[in-house]
């Protein structure tokens, strides 16, 4: 992981709280049963009024009739009125986003599969395991979001290799180091063993178009 200076807006573990209104590419990790993630363009943080996010997108797993199903839905978050609490919020530095942007629309990957609706590709759960990795072996899937041990990985595309392991391309990785400090990095390619993957969700384009 090539560390890049990141801008930590809020970190419940290290007691960091930067007050203000922030705009850009913001990732917030929630403390809930499915470790859901909120992606947003804005966040307002204040000691008195708490954390507010407007027009964010929350992605994770939820339980529907005893089964765990991937979801992604728009969200206006206010920690005073909602049960979900946030573990951290990070504003991804613009230079990292620039690298991420450059990796998009690559000539080498013209025939990428877009899923219409958000779906779980992989979930490591003893009771409700989801594993469609074999089914998509060799395919290129657009917009994967993954939780890997303690880190979040957002990529432009994922390919399932011949061993059935996911290979992410054009990735943003947010995670904690040994000292529990938050780090952000950009990787053009991340080869991940499926044993360390908590979940992979493929974001549906319908969620993005509306």
């Amino acid at each position: 992981m090539s560390d890049v200076d990141s801008y930590i807006l809020f970190d419940a573990v290290n007691n960091i709280l930067n007050e203000g209104e922030f705009r850009g590419s913001i990732i917030s990790k929630c403390i809930d049963s499915s470790d859901s993630i909120i992606f947003s363009e804005n966040i307002t943080i204040s000691r008195s009024e708490g954390i507010k996010i407007t027009q964010g997108l929350r992605v994770g797993f939820e339980e529907v009739t005893y089964k765990r199903v991937a979801f992604s839905r728009k969200l206006d978050y206010d920690n005073n009125t909602q049960d979900i609490s946030i573990e951290y919020s990070i504003l991804i530095p613009e230079d990292v986003m620039h690298l991420y942007d450059e990796g998009q629309f690559s000539d080498a990957f013209p025939f990428t599969l877009n899923l219409l609706h958000t779906a779980g590709l992989y979930l490591r759960d003893p009771k409700n395991t989801i594993n469609h990795l074999d089914f998509f072996k060799g395919e290129i899937l657009k917009n994967p979001i993954s939780l890997i041990m303690n880190g979040i990985l957002v990529a432009d595309r994922v390919v399932i290799d011949h061993r059935g392991d996911p290979v992410f391309y054009d990735c943003l990785i947010v995670g904690r180091d040994q000292d529990e400090k938050l780090k952000v990095s950009y990787e053009p390619l991340a080869n991940v063993d499926d044993k360390v993957v908590e979940y992979i969700i493929i974001l549906g384009i319908e969620e993005l178009k509306i």
Binding site: S40, E41, Q55, M97, D101, F105, T112, V154, I205, L208
Partner: protein
């Protein structure tokens, strides 16, 4: 172990293979030339380079007689300013599809990968990298086209708007639609496309249409990271193509058919000149024109003032290429011989062999200079002739040398 080698004899043997170190006396825009300029011309090149670097838009006239080395100057400039896209154009060859020809030359000069980069940057600028929820890119071609139109519409004239629609469609399709990318790239490279292919791309015309080629050229040049130099050779052919009415002694007067003002040739020339001057509106395009005399420059200026007087402000003071000075012929000879050996991979022959101008000598070179009056093309013609005699005749070297030391050489 070889302790002595007769390099002079070896050089003659190499020449006897039939390779003349002086093979051509006319420089063209197609065949690359690596031989630099002679010392006396270096200040002129430096001057030209500083004009190009200091001015984003300019027209620089270069004046010089036939065979003085104007086209060779293009290659010297291109080699020195390798960080610019330099395009060579001879007006004799392009009366039709003017902008398309320049576009094709431009694409050839920049190459495919930089072309892809430029269009990629353009599409990104038009909003292709807009991120939903701060992260996720969604391709909304319609929105990107609208934003592109909004951003660049004002840079183009009314009659170029239809072409602009085609250009924006072509670029966005190339970058954002992987299923039509191959056709869009063919279009981008200026290939002729049939109506079925154009319909699939949702376009009216390919780039053979002059307006489309101009709009595309303007977009690419203005968004290229490198500056662009357009070298137009024999520019006076624009005014030369129609003789002045006073000089002609014709039985048939074209004015009987076409009116008193303009002959068809004159109309054609004006049209061509108008197109050249339109190029001047492209930001970052430096135009170099070559002319044979100051009078031609005055004629060109007169014609330009008829079209748009403002353009005269962009015309810089002319740079004059003069004949070789005497030391230049020695330098040219030595450089050419060294270059000949290097290109032929004859590296074992020491280059100090040419200190006495072997296989010729100083007297012969002096003779050549006097007869040619320092005109580089004439000098080269004579050198070719002498070397042909050394290579192909049965005379030995001393006989050939004696002949050209004492007698005059006709080129």
């Amino acid at each position: 172990m070889l302790i002595y080698e007769n390099f002079k004899a070896k050089l003659i043997n190499i020449l006897k293979f039939g390779i003349n170190p002086f093979r051509k006396f006319v420089s063209t825009g197609e065949i690359r030339e690596d031989l630099g300029l002679v010392n006396s011309r270096k200040p002129l090149l430096e001057n030209l380079m500083s004009i190009i670097e200091d001015n984003k838009n300019c027209i620089v006239p270069i004046i010089g007689n036939v065979g003085i080395g104007k086209t060779h100057l293009y290659w010297a400039l291109k080699n020195r300013m390798y960080y610019h896209n330099a395009i060579y154009l001879s007006l004799d060859e392009i009366y039709k599809r003017f902008f398309y020809t320049i576009y094709s030359e431009f694409i050839e000069v920049i190459g495919l990968e930089p072309l892809r980069n430029i269009v990629n940057q353009l599409v990104n600028k038009w909003g292709a990298l807009e991120r939903k929820f701060g992260f996720f890119h969604i391709v909304d071609t319609k929105k990107i086209k609208q934003s592109a139109l909004k951003m660049i519409n004002h840079k183009f004239e009314e009659d170029e708007k239809t072409a602009l629609h085609d250009i924006i469609t072509g670029i966005t399709t190339h970058q954002l639609d992987p299923y039509k990318k191959i056709e869009a790239e063919r279009w981008l490279l200026g290939e002729i496309m049939d109506i079925r292919e154009l319909t699939r791309l949702n376009m009216m015309n390919d780039l053979t249409k002059n307006r489309n080629a101009y709009v595309m050229l303007k977009l690419l040049i203005e968004n290229s990271k490198l500056g662009t130099i357009l070298f137009i050779d024999d520019f006076e052919s624009i005014v030369k193509s129609y003789p002045s009415q006073d000089d002609t002694d014709e039985v048939f007067d074209p004015s009987w058919l076409y009116g008193k003002e303009d002959s068809p040739d004159e109309i054609l020339s004006q049209k061509l000149l108008r197109r050249v001057l339109k190029l001047q509106k492209i930001d970052g395009l430096r135009i170099i024109i070559t002319l044979k005399s100051r009078k031609s420059l005055e004629d060109v200026k007169k014609n330009i003032s008829k079209i748009d007087e403002k353009i005269l402000n962009f015309i810089k003071d002319p740079l004059c290429l003069s004949n070789f000075e005497e030391p230049d012929i020695y330098e040219l000879y030595t450089k050419s011989m060294k270059n000949f050996l290097e290109n032929g991979n004859f590296t074992k022959i020491p280059t100090d062999l040419f200190e006495d101008y072997y296989p010729l000598n100083k007297k012969i070179l002096e003779n050549i200079y006097d007869i040619s009056k320092g005109n580089p093309r004439e000098i080269l013609k004579m050198l070719i002739k002498i070397f042909n005699e050394i290579i192909f005749s049965n005379k030995n070297l001393s006989e050939v040398r004696e002949k050209y030391e004492n007698t005059s050489i006709s080129p």
